[in-house]
Symmetry: C2
Amino acid sequence: MAQQHLDPTDPTVRAVPVSGDALAGYLRAQATEFLRSLRQHRETGGGGAPTRAGSSVGENGSDESVDAARALRRSARRISGSLHTFRPLLDPDWSERMRPELAWLSGTLAREHAYSARLERLIGALNRLSGTSFPTQAGPEAGPAPKSNLTIGAAKAGALLDRQLTLARTRAHSAALQALGSSRFHAVADSVAVLASEVPLTPAAATADLSPPAAAAESRLLDAVGTLPLLTAGHPYNAEALVHGLSADTAPQPQDAPWHQVRLLLRLHRYAREVLYGEECPVDVRLLAAGQALNQHRDAAEAASAAASAARTPRIAPATAYALGVLHADQRHEVEAARFAFQQSWQKEAVPTR
Amino acid sequence: MAQQHLDPTDPTVRAVPVSGDALAGYLRAQATEFLRSLRQHRETGGGGAPTRAGSSVGENGSDESVDAARALRRSARRISGSLHTFRPLLDPDWSERMRPELAWLSGTLAREHAYSARLERLIGALNRLSGTSFPTQAGPEAGPAPKSNLTIGAAKAGALLDRQLTLARTRAHSAALQALGSSRFHAVADSVAVLASEVPLTPAAATADLSPPAAAAESRLLDAVGTLPLLTAGHPYNAEALVHGLSADTAPQPQDAPWHQVRLLLRLHRYAREVLYGEECPVDVRLLAAGQALNQHRDAAEAASAAASAARTPRIAPATAYALGVLHADQRHEVEAARFAFQQSWQKEAVPTR
């Protein structure tokens, strides 16, 4: 692989062109990692029973299986992202075919983990809000009854969320198993196996400069960040995230969409940096913190949405609904907190990233 | 009155002793103001029907009557506070008798206004949360039905709060009327009338220095501020105010008490400054901002409590309870925001205040 030992703090490094070889090396490495994770996932029993909160596709929630599934998603996202950013350097037919398949795969694999994490986040919030420890049904310590200082409402809300999200997770688990056994998946795995040895670059790519497409990815990110209400987000307790929190519109909050979009573009920018710098890619703590804030933003938004949706369950007790209302508002405030954290990390002086 | 043209930013002014004459002048002025407000309140029809949100004891919510009631409370608080801070300089029997009576009076008069303001705050929050305009029953524009993007839950929660707090306000109004017609009130008014001409200072008070008791009031404030969790409050989105927000304990949040205490001590400190500086008392913007933050803190805490209490109404719909849960959490976040605002204003460099 063409290693790039560039110093990101030194603007002169931009003058050194990084060629298509670096892209080929990166894609080969990610494809190899994909195949390794897939093998590890099969060996560690991936495909067993659904697991408790925090784990993902894998039997008995073995750490190895969870790690393997995470690594599989990680490399699938990187391959897909690089195909997108460096489109002009790759065989267009091939990459057009490949990207939606990788997106389908990582999306399918991510879902079980997402429901697990969401349940864990909501139960954690209920514990914090009621000043007690409230185990999930699936947890090994599920024995003890809720403590006496936990309201019936909070306990019932927890049980309702546990039931709904555990069901969703079980379904996601089955869907992931089905996906991993499907011919569609085998076709993706075959394509990735080919990629591990031979990257379909265009004839001109070997000598083409990777900087322009990487710069374009960065400027798409900067443009999207430019549309965010960062001035508002920088004022703590601006109460923006809960605006329309009680409106009848049950669709996900439209105000969240630009933040989710920035999250995806930030990820593409990070992957493009990895391609340019190769294995020695330095960690940009600012990008890391910004990305973590946007992950929090997404997780809190989805948790808030799950609480609101649970509150629409027919025939629940008013106390349960009240607890879910408190929980929804709490998570929307976490959304606001994440925007504040993003604004704080983003406004720190940027170091040149290419 | 002994005017004190002191420059608060100049520490040398502390060397100029302010004597009991200044206290006598201050108390006479406040007593005169009390009697003037009382007369104005009677002339502007104080004692009529209870009024809509934003107004207080007074007929048809006339601005003059509301202003008069506010001025009455304002001077009652100042007299009572000064009696407390400058206790050693005043006839002890007289001030011991006077203070609880003034506290009873200002408390009784404040209640109607408090319920009005609380309802207004909660309806305002519901409007913000549902992205619509939801009038109170008592408002003149009560005609139009809630807009379609307002959930039934939010509309019902608004109607429930309107009903409960309007009832409480009506009762408070009657209690205030009854108080203003009582012999207990006439005794207070008579004592204040005496105070307007003759302040019962101790023999030594005329030449005594007011600075030590004023300094003691300030140090009680500083001690109380010292016990506040200001480090936590200074971190936005610390989620402290909602901790135990779902615990079964229905008593007001114990975490609020030290903040309420600081609010009272800050007020006593401000009044002591008014005594020392006389009518030329300079505005200390830092104290002003800190005091406003603590008022917000108190108002939001009581509004959150009212939402929680409304949610315990038997036989409400789950959607109503959900909206009240969101509202409760929203107001607890306003509590947290007020603590942050207090911390921000307090950490600004203090100018010498005596």
